[in-house]
Amino acid sequence: MTTDTAKPTWRRYLWWNTDHKVIGVQYIVTSFIFFLLAGALAMLIRAELASPGPDFLSGEAYNQTMTNHGSMMLFLWILPVLAGFGNYLVPLMIGARDMAFPRLNALSFWLIPPAGLLMLASLFVGGADAGWTAYVPLSISGPPGQTLWALSVIILGTSSILGAINFITTTITMRAPGMTIWRLPLFVWGMLATSVLVLSATPVLATGLILVALDRTVGTHFFAVGSGGDPVLWQNLFWFYSHPAVYIMVLPAMGIISEVFPVFSRKPIFGYRMIALSSMAIAVLGLTVWAHHMFTSGMDPRLRVPYMVSSMVIAVPTGVKIFSWLATIWYGKLRLNAPMLFALGFISMFLIGGLTGIFLASIPVDLHVHDSYFVVAHLHFVLFGGSVSAVFAGLYYWFPKITGRMYDERVARFQFAVYFIGANLAYLPLFLAGLQGMPRRVADYAEMFTSVNQLSTIGSMILGFAVLPFLYNAIVSMARGPKADANPWNARTLEWKTSSPPPTHNFEQIPVVTEEPYAYGEDAAAGGPSPSPAAG
C-alpha cells in the first residue's frame, strides 16, 4: 500500500499516494490555491463595483468573472477543502489505519487538479458567463468556455461521489473496537450526513450538466427553446442538487465547530445526540426543499406553501445546533485561541446568514428580494461567514497535528481580527443594497447604491488582505514553529492520541475506545490522562 515510505517526505505530496493523511493535505493545499484565485476574482468584482457604471470590466467580462468566482469558491474551494479535512481526520478519529478504499481515495483527489485546470482554461476560450447556477437557455447559448465549465463540474461531482462512498464505508466498517455509533466525534457525524447528501444529490446535477453539455456539443434539444425545451426542468435538476449543496458545504463545517467548542471551553459538548441527529435531520430535510428556489419561476402555486413550510422547518435542527453550542460555551473555561475565535466568528456570522435564509424561504419576501443583493449577502454570510470561518478554525486547530509544529498565536489572532472586520464590512452593506432593490449579477448600478457599494469594496479589500498573515503564519510556523506534542490542546478525540504528525499507519496499536469523545470533566480540565491506551 505505501510504496512511498522510502521517498523524501515532501515528495509524497506531489504524486499518487494512498495514505489518507497525504491525500487530505493534497486536498487542503490544492483547494487553498483555488481559494486564492477565486478570492482574487472577488476583489476584481468589488473593484469594478467601487463606483457606478462600467469601469474596467465589460458586462461580458464581469459575468465571466462572477461565474468563475462563484464556481471556483464552491466547487474547488469549499467542497474539496472540507473533503480534505474529512480525509485527514475521519480515519484518525475513528481509530482506523486508512480509508476503506485507499486507491479510490487517491483517485478522488487526482480528479480535482484536471477539473480545476479545465475551469481555469475555460476562462481563456470565452469563459462561462451564466452564473454558477448555469440557468438555461443562457448556459446553452453562452461562449465555448461554458462546455469546459460543465465538464469540469461533472468531474468534480464524480470526485465527491467517490469520496462520499469512501467516507460512509469507512465510518461504517472501519471503526476501532469500542467506537460505537454514539461515540463518533461530531465531525465524523457531519461528514456522514454530508456524504449521504452528496450521494443522493450530486448524481442529479451530473445528469443536468450532461444534458447541457450534450446540447452544446452534439446538438440535442433538451433545453433548446425552439423545439419545446423547458428551462424549468433545468432549475428542477439544478436545485435538487444545489439546495442540498448548501448543507453539503455547511454540515462538515458545523462538525469542525462542534469539535472546537468543547475543547476550548473545557466542557462536554451539550446535547451530543441532538447535534448528531440534527445533522441527519438537516440531510433528510435538505433533500426535500429544493423547489423553493423556483417560487419565482412559475411553479404550481399550490406547491408553494408546503415548500415554504419545509424550508422553514429546516431551520429547527440548525437552531438545535446553535443553542447546543451556546450551552457548551456557557460557564466554560474559555481559551480564546485562534480556533475558538474563528468558531465564535462562525456562530455570529452563520446566525445572520441562517436567519436571513428564513426570510428568503418566506414567499412574500422572496418575491420582493429575489435576485437582489439580499441573496448575495445571505449566501456569503452562510458560506463565507459560516463555512470558511469554520475551515480557518479547523486549519488552526489541526495545524499542530498535521505539521507537528505550533503556529504563532499572536499573528493568528491578528488575522482573525482583520478577517472578521473585513467580512462583515464586505457583506453587511449588501443586505441594505438588496432591500433597496439593487439587482445582483450586474456590473453597473444606480447612483443611490454608491455608498453601500464603496463600504463593501473596502471591506472586501480588508478581507483579501486577511489571507496574508495566515499564509505568513502557516509557512513560517511549518518551517520554524516550536514542535507540537501529541495533544497540545488537551483534547480527547482519537486523532490526538497519536503523535503529531501521525505515523503512516496512524496508531502504533489500534486504540480501544472506552468513553465518549467529549468527556471533559473536572479532571480533564486539569489535564488528567485518558483511560485509552495512548500511542506514539
Partner: protein, 198 residues
C-alpha cells in the same frame, strides 16, 4: 512496509463484527448514487413525455425490445447461477455461466444497436427533436452501463479462470453481480416507462 501491510488487515475488524464487507457496502452505496443518476434522466424523459406527448413513441418496436428485455432478464439468472456455482466451489460451472452472461450482454447490446439503427432510418435521431434527445440519452446511458458490465464480466471470467475465486473468497463475483442486477433493474423500469406506458 511488510509490518504495515500486515496491520492493514486488522483495520477491517470493526466492520467484520457487523458482518459487512466494505467492498459490498461500497457497491451498494455506488448503486444508490446510480439510482439518482438515472432518476435525473428518467425525470427528464417523463417531464417532456407529459409536456409534449411524444407521438414518436408509436414508432418504437415493443416486441423487438420485449425480446431484448427477456435476454437481459436471462442474463441476470446466469449471473446469479455463476455466483451460486463458485460458492459451491465449482469454478468451471461459474466460468460457463459467466461466458453465457457475456454472450447475453452482447446480444442485448446488438439488439439495442439494431433498434437505434431502425430509428435513425426513420429519421428519429439524437438531434431530431426533444424525443430523440431524451430517448437516446436515456437508453444510451443504460446501454453504456451494460457495456461496462460486459467488460467487467470478461475481467471476472479471466480472473476466475486463473483461479482467483474459491468457495470462500468470491466477493469479486458477488460485487460484479450486484452491478449487473442493478443494470437489469434499471432496464425493467425503463422498459415500462418508455415502451409500455401510453
Amino acid at each position: 512496509m511488510s509490518e504495515h501491510t500486515l496491520s492493514h488487515t486488522d483495520e477491517f475488524k470493526a466492520g467484520r463484527a457487523l458482518g459487512l464487507d466494505h467492498r459490498k457496502l461500497g457497491m451498494w452505496l455506488f448503486i444508490a448514487s446510480e439510482v439518482m443518476f438515472f432518476g435525473g434522466l428518467i425525470a427528464t424523459f417523463l417531464h417532456y413525455k407529459y409536456q409534449l406527448g411524444f407521438p414518436e413513441i408509436a414508432s418504437l418496436d415493443v416486441f423487438q425490445v420485449g425480446l431484448n428485455t427477456l435476454i437481459l432478464l436471462t442474463s441476470s439468472l446466469t449471473v446469479v447461477e455463476a455466483l451460486s456455482a463458485i460458492r459451491h466451489g465449482r469454478g468451471g460451472r461459474m466460468a460457463i455461466f459467466l461466458l453465457l452472461t457475456i454472450l447475453l450482454g452482447v446480444a442485448f447490446l446488438s439488439g439495442q444497436a439494431y433498434e437505434f439503427y431502425k430509428l435513425y432510418e426513420e429519421g428519429i435521431t439524437l438531434t431530431s427533436g426533444v424525443f430523440g434527445s431524451a430517448f437516446f440519452t436515456l437508453t444510451g446511458f443504460h446501454g453504456l452501463h451494460v457495456l461496462i458490465g460486459v467488460v467487467w464480466a470478461i475481467v471476472v471470467l479471466a480472473r476466475g479462470l486463473r483461479g482467483a475465486y474459491t468457495a470462500e473468497q468470491n466477493m469479486g463475483v458477488e460485487v460484479f453481480g450486484l452491478y449487473w442486477h442493478f443494470v437489469d433493474i434499471v432496464w425493467i423500469i425503463l422498459f415500462t416507462i418508455i415502451y409500455l406506458i401510453p
